[in-house]
Each structure stands twice: as C-alpha cells, then as structure tokens.
Symmetry: C2
Subunit: 414 residues, 2 copies
Amino acid sequence: MSLIVQKYGGSSVHSTERIKRVAEHVVATRRQGHDVVVVVSAMGDTTDELLDLARALTPAAAPRELDVLLTTGERISNALMAIAIESLGTEARSFSGAQAGVRTTGAAGRARIVEVVPDRVRSALDRGAVAVVAGFQGISRDTGDVTTLGRGGSDTTAVALAAALKADLCEIYTDVDGVYSADPRLVPDARLLENVGYEVMHELAMSGAKVLAPRSVAYAARHQVPIRVRSSFSTNPGTMVAGSADLPPAEHSSVTGVAHDSSKARITLAGVPDAPELTSRILHLVADVEAELHFAVRGRTDISLVLPAADGPPALRALRQECADLGVEELHYDEQIGKVSLVGNGLLSHPGVLATCCETLTEAGVHLETITTSDIRITALCPAPQLPHAVRAWHTAFALAAPELATVHAGSGR
Amino acid sequence: MSLIVQKYGGSSVHSTERIKRVAEHVVATRRQGHDVVVVVSAMGDTTDELLDLARALTPAAAPRELDVLLTTGERISNALMAIAIESLGTEARSFSGAQAGVRTTGAAGRARIVEVVPDRVRSALDRGAVAVVAGFQGISRDTGDVTTLGRGGSDTTAVALAAALKADLCEIYTDVDGVYSADPRLVPDARLLENVGYEVMHELAMSGAKVLAPRSVAYAARHQVPIRVRSSFSTNPGTMVAGSADLPPAEHSSVTGVAHDSSKARITLAGVPDAPELTSRILHLVADVEAELHFAVRGRTDISLVLPAADGPPALRALRQECADLGVEELHYDEQIGKVSLVGNGLLSHPGVLATCCETLTEAGVHLETITTSDIRITALCPAPQLPHAVRAWHTAFALAAPELATVHAGSGR
C-alpha cells in the first residue's frame, strides 16, 4: 500500500460526465489499497468566466479580491469531485488550499508555496477517506489572505502536497499520454519518453513544453518527489520524471527532445551607448516582466528583450518614453518570434551538436537569428512562421523519432 | 458617524451592472462618514446552477460537500463587490464567513450561528476599509468545516454581524420597498408599514411574509439589533423593525397585516385510534420536516400534518408504509393548501376579531377548513385557489389599506 497524489487538470474535469469518470478512477485506485490525495483544477472555462465578470466591473481589479474570486473555481470542482467519489461509496473530503495547509508568500496572483502543513489531509487519509484538495491556491502566511499560485499552480500544489506527505508517487493526469520528444502536433512521429530526469524536464518546461509547469518540476527536484505524467483518457503508463539516480540510464543519446515556444515577443533597442547603468535602467523599466536579454555588440550595442507576448506592448510603451533619454537610436518590436530548444544532458560536451544545430536549420531554410547555449540546452530564435520547420529539422537530425514510426517513416519515403 | 451593516439579496447583485450600482450606494454611505459592512448573497441564479451540477453527479450529494459547493456562490459575488467598490476609489476587503468569524453548529445545510468573532472585520473597518462579508455561511465550531445557514441565511449573517459589532443599524436591501400590510401583488392597496415590532415581524415572517427570514428577526430581537428593510431600487426609507420600546405607538389598530403562504401541503390521517404513542410515532416518521399538527376528534381522531410542499411526497411515503400498522383508516393528501394569517398585537383581547375573521371568509366564499389562534396571530387554512380572496377579505375587513389609496378606492367606486 502506498500514498499516491493524483492531479487532474481543467480538461479532465471539464464536465460532470468527466468528473464522474475521474471519480471512478480515483475510487479504483483507493480500492487497490492505496491512500489517495486528489488535486483538482477548475472546470474547463470557469477561470476565464470569472475573469470576464471582474473585467465587466473594472479593467484593474484589486489583486487580492481577484485571488478570492479565482479560487472559487477550484472550490467548485473540488466539492463536485468529492460528491462524485462519495456517490460511488468511498468516503471523500474536500479541502481548500488553506484547509490543506498550503501556506504561501503574500504576492496576490503569483504567490509561492512557503510550506505545507497537511494535518487535516493526513487525518482524512488516516480515517480511510480520499482527500480532495483545491489546486492553485493557498493562504498567505503573513496576512491570512487567500492567494493564488499563478500559471501551473495546480501542478505545484500536487507536488508540494506529495512532498509534505512523503507520498510514494505524484501522478499528473493531463490530456496527452506523457512527455514527448517534441510536440506531436508539429512532429507526428515524436517519441513518448519513458523516463526524464528532473533537470532535463525543468529545461523542457522552461523552453515551452506545456505538459508540466517549470515551478512544479523544480519543487519536485528539491524534495525528490517522483512524478508520473499520464493521460486521463488512456491506460498508457506515461512518463516518469525523477532524479537520474532513480532512473535507468539514458537509452539512445544524450539528446532528450525539442521544445518550442511561440508565445514570445521581442523588443530590440538598436544602437545603445555603451554605458553599464543603461542596462539596469532598462531592466528596471520592465521589472515585472520575465524577460531574457540578448546583447549584440557592433560598435554600439544592440539589446534584445525576449519576453511573453502579452507583456510586449506595455514594456514597449515604457521603453519608448525613455528612449531618447537613454540615447537609443532605434527601437524595433517583433510581436511574435519563434524559439526552439534542444534539451538533453551534457549537450556541449558532445562534439558537433552545436554545429549540427546550426547546419540543419540553414538546410531547412530557417533564418537563425540568435543562438544561446547552456550545458543542457541549445536555444535558437527564428521568425515565428519558420518555427515548425525548425522543430522538425532538429527532431530528425538528432534521430528522436519513435523507433517503430521512424522505420515506417524511412520505408514510406515521406 | 455610525456603523451600518447593509445586506443585499441575490436580485440586488444579479448582474455586474447591478453590482456596480450597489457599490456606488455603498461608497456614498461610506463617504457620509459611516463605517460600512456589506453582506452579499450569491448572484441571481448561481445557487441553482451549482445545485444542478451536483444533481448531475448524484441525486444524494454528501451534505458537507454540498455546503462547500454552495458557499462559492457568495464568495464570487463578494469578491466582485469588493472589486467594484475598490474601482470607485474606496478601500474594501472581502471575507468568507469563516474569515469574518461566523462560527456555527455542525449541521451541514442548516447550521445555526453560535457566535460571531469579527476581529478581522473590525480591523478592516479600523483601517477605513469597507468590509464585504459572504452571507449564508460560516465555519463549524467543532469540525472546522465550512457550513451553510439554510434559507434566509444571509439575513441572519447580517443581523449577527450587526449584533457582534454593536452596529447602529442593520439595513436589509431587497426588491420591495419594505414590509407591507399584505403582499402588494395580491392586494394592490396594501400599506407600506413604517414601523413593526420584533414579535409581530417574526410572526409575519413565520406566516409566509418573505421579506425577512424568521430566524434573522428572532436573532435581532434577542440582541436588540434595529433593522431597516428597504429597496435597492428606490430611496424610500422602508420599514423599521425594532423593539416596541424603540418604536412610536401603533397608529391605526392593533392589527398589523395579513400574511399568506401557498407553499404548504397537507397529509391527513383519518380515523386514528386514540393511542397517545401513535402521535409521537407519526412525528418520528417525519422528524426532519417542519410540520404543524392539527387534531380533530370525532369519535376517532383525524390528524393533519401541514408541511412544506417539497417535503410532502417523502413524508407521505413514510406514513403510507406504516399506515396499516398504525391502524389508520384513511390517508389523504392535499398537495397544496392555502394558509392565511392575521398578525398584530393582542388580537384575542380585542372582542370580535376572531368572529370578524370567520364571517368575512364566509362572505367571500372561502371555505374555512381550520382556524388556529395565538395572542398575536389568527391563521386559517383554506383551499389553495381561494387564498387570494381570503387575503383580500381580511385586509379590507380590518381597514389595513394605505389611507390615500383607500380614499381613491372609495371615490372611484371600484
């Protein structure tokens, strides 16, 4: 008998029909003798509907109250899940993030988990009940206010609960079969990965793979929580994410997969005078934005900020106001750019990997704008329309396709 | 400067447009220098929509989880109200029932308030903020579970908060102008009452007047909380409900008004053997139902149970099973009966009131089935279709009409 945390995303609980199916799966797990904690996201579009109500009142809702509003979505799906489980004859109890002991920082809308004190969850389990915990939310350790954890918060709730309860496994149920070597919508012969280490998974997530939130992977790595990513709609065992010591040695090569991200925009300040304090002033202007900076020095310096597309227009406005003041010659804005990343262990210690990256993009007709490297990631920026070509070029060049599909691929002469 | 608790019902916050209007009214009150606590019900049909979701899963949802589900409705309207108030430049903070210190018994779906410890509400007021509190909900003192207060729970939340905060006034905003001498939909010349004492108001509420929940009136009487019932949609000062010592002496007569209730059914057990333990056995069978009992002795005894129509069918099934066993000769069921009540101080000490009640019903062609009396109430049962005639007959007989309208009425020869 083990303790399993199961997290179900919004698409898995989109309707009462789906909630029933998830409840049946939870009850089956419980009847196998496991202790089960279920973490549920809000139903399908609930969060967007709640945001629409707030926007109808004001474009600038108070962040604290927006958090209160949004947390009701998970409270609803949670109560419904507990009702569905109990209707199948298995005891269940739902808990808000606060009741489950999820304590956070005070930053409304993007709080971070500080600690988890799951006493009530533990005592529900001790009584034989399934504990159903609202994802994405907690309570501020300082103010006692309800907080939300930001994007991917429910994954982090599940992992943090698994860590605090010393669970044997954290299962993340989603609408795909697991982690693939590339997005199967772009690369039809992408391979389902059986095992991925924390570091590589974190890098994939940071580079645009949406299957797991980066923060939840980092939390899992820190607390050594094994994660299984799998589908709510199949029995495929999915992908195991764990420390490399707990995984079998890598199978084919050190390259794990190709991630891509088409949600970024770019602001380029061309001809920036070479004064060090200017960089910090630019960063200060866009302080609330998760921006990467790129420098190109040609006499005067070009600085590019690669940032989420939604943050682009306000950042641009802020920078434009200061531009003359900063002595910047030109300001360019790309509202969408393509970003492709090759992720795997020790990439730069394998001779030729970086060269192959550059060559294959050129051969595929992709205009390579910038390339950055770390020991486990090589990232290229390219025009947004060329991104699918770039993903497929790298996926083929590093032989990442599923073996059986690769054979078909070669034989069919496509 | 005083402290005012304002409660707004579901129709007052039915849409974001109405929430904005209420927020403007709250902010106007705050700017007059008053401390303001706002209690908000769920938006329009939210509660029914949530119940539909639960019913799609199972006809018998776990009561504890149903409470969690339903309390989200008030959390949503509450957060939206705080957002709307803050968008007008006045600080506001929303609180759940639990955060506002509303502690209850553990009975899911029909918890009662045990105590209110509004420390967080008080400190929000001390900081100059408007406190927005979710009605209809609390936290069980014993289990820490979220609870709901049952029908009219938001009125009770408002009154209980007003009592705990020693508020100067509790305003109940609704969709009518106040408490009338009869339902204006049945009696067009019904008079808006300026003042009503707690006892009479409680009796009116118990007899079917929907403007205030009986439990909230009882709570107000116990803690001497003055209530003003008024409309969200007009500036009419409405009706003051207070202790008789705090009100001017009654104006016209001791009869205050006529209440009616068309939501009741009746089960009649005809020919019950005269054994005392049978009554307690019958009551035991319908223990969860708020039933009034009527006895008619004619050789053998007829027992009638007058109960909420929704409780009729299950109670009937329970009684039918036991009927032969109980030695009951016949079982009758009226799925809807009419109930009309005359309410006022010292009714039976006024000679002729009871006689007038009986005579006017007969003259109006109403079949009087049962009549019961207390010192402040006379209640008659009649066939449901005759109920409007009964209400109008008593309202006219005791000259309860609004004076100006009564004149017009007489003059126009209608």
